[in-house]
Symmetry: C2
Subunit: 254 residues, 2 copies
């Protein structure tokens, strides 16, 4: 039961969180046995944990199938409010997003992925590729991820590069660590990341880091879209300027 776990970790709570987390996938409503299977927990245990979550109003049941309630947003709101996301970051994103008629996203580092923290949809109410608050991206194959990777503290970067198995998403994904490293150096030098066709065929992402005055990395802001939109050199530069401005404004208050 306790392989390498220190004694300062509560197994029950761990399992409970496992149950809660299993709802972050695609499945909207799940029965107790489905949950047990997905979390690899004993069914009786799962049942009690699920009932506890229902009691706390994080889950609700219809026809013996459980699904998340909006309650979880209260906790998420704690994070967002603490970082002034709703109050300041989102409006900033929106104002810049209106300016260039593109959807802009703000991500932070969550373990070994970039996680969407705020997002302003662009003008056309299309694509957005389904990414929303809480979605995560791999670091090595996306613009937002590389902007983060490039501006991490060195030791953190090393850790992340070591851990990452550099999954391949398209024929163009950079999987060679050396090649990735040299791109990170370039990214650092020019202060922006540009990644084409590496995560999704036909998609380009342009991103810049959000840095505190002292150089500490906060996250990254970026634009993602079909390749043709990024081919005009002048337009790309204009977007880059907007992203840099945007990053600076965010850095001032997060």
């Amino acid at each position: 039961m306790n392989d390498f776990n220190e004694k300062d970790i509560s197994m029950t709570f761990l399992k409970g969180m496992k149950v809660l987390e299993c709802f972050s996938g695609i499945d909207r409503a799940m029965s107790i046995s489905e949950i047990a299977k997905k979390t690899d927990l004993n069914r009786t245990v799962t049942r009690r944990l699920v009932l506890t979550l229902e009691h706390l109003k994080y889950l609700e049941s219809t026809d013996r199938r459980y699904s998340l309630t909006p309650r979880i947003l209260r906790v998420a709101g704690g994070f967002l409010q603490g970082h002034d996301i709703g109050k300041h970051v989102t409006p900033i994103l929106k104002s810049f997003s209106d300016k260039i008629k593109e959807s802009i996203s703000f991500v932070m580092l969550d373990e070994d992925r970039a996680i969407y923290v705020a997002h302003s949809p662009g003008d056309q109410r299309l694509i957005t590729q389904g990414f929303t608050i809480g979605s995560t991206l791999p670091l090595h194959a996306t613009g937002l991820g590389r902007a983060i990777l490039a501006f991490c503290p060195e030791d953190r970067q090393k850790e992340l590069l070591k851990k990452s198995p550099c999954a391949s998403y398209t024929n163009n994904t950079t999987v060679d660590p050396e090649k990735l490293k040299s791109d990170l150096t370039l990214t650092r030098a020019r202060s922006y990341a540009l990644v084409i066709n590496e995560f999704e065929e036909g998609v380009t992402s342009l991103a810049v880091p959000v840095l505190h005055q002292d150089g500490e990395l906060i996250g990254a802001v970026g634009i993602v879209g079909p390749n043709p939109r990024f081919q005009d050199e002048k337009k790309r530069q204009e977007r880059l300027n907007v992203l840099h401005e945007c990053a600076e404004e965010i850095a001032m208050l997060v």
Copy 2:
């Protein structure tokens, strides 16, 4: 320890969630003893639960003070993605919000409060009153709340009215249950809620319910702003039309 708790509820998990929840307040970073005090849990227990959360990367510590990481957004994202919030609702809100140059919010019912689920900031990057995803509003004193209250299933409404202590926020807050009930009837009849000066002096809120075809309540969309902006009858009607259109679009996919 177990006052009325059924045996199907895991106390440890309950306590753990209590610890996690206590970060949804204002305090950004807390020490273990602060957390113990706030949650009213034994310090040793609190410690183990906090360490568990740190192990799971929901919390991180700097100088013995713990704060939320973006990790919680993964779970919140599960809810948001499941309801197509980021993919569809937010873009819809944005397009209508652009049309009337007002910030529009989408809320759902969370126990006995209305909880912000999606929000599109208006043109001016001001006020927004600090409300963001995860913030909650009282049902009886706000337009969004009353739109929900008025279109609840009858039994649910009764429950909510019974529980609610009808807190008073300004001199104008409706606290008399009878008066509230008659306003709810009016709200239902005209299909929108209009609440002035009841939650914050000088602030008006206009909201409409989001209903499935079968009449099932999903949530509400609304606009909040300084009173003068709502005085022009024609403009108000125009906004109302936009809100209704918006609600209809959302109802089609949530």
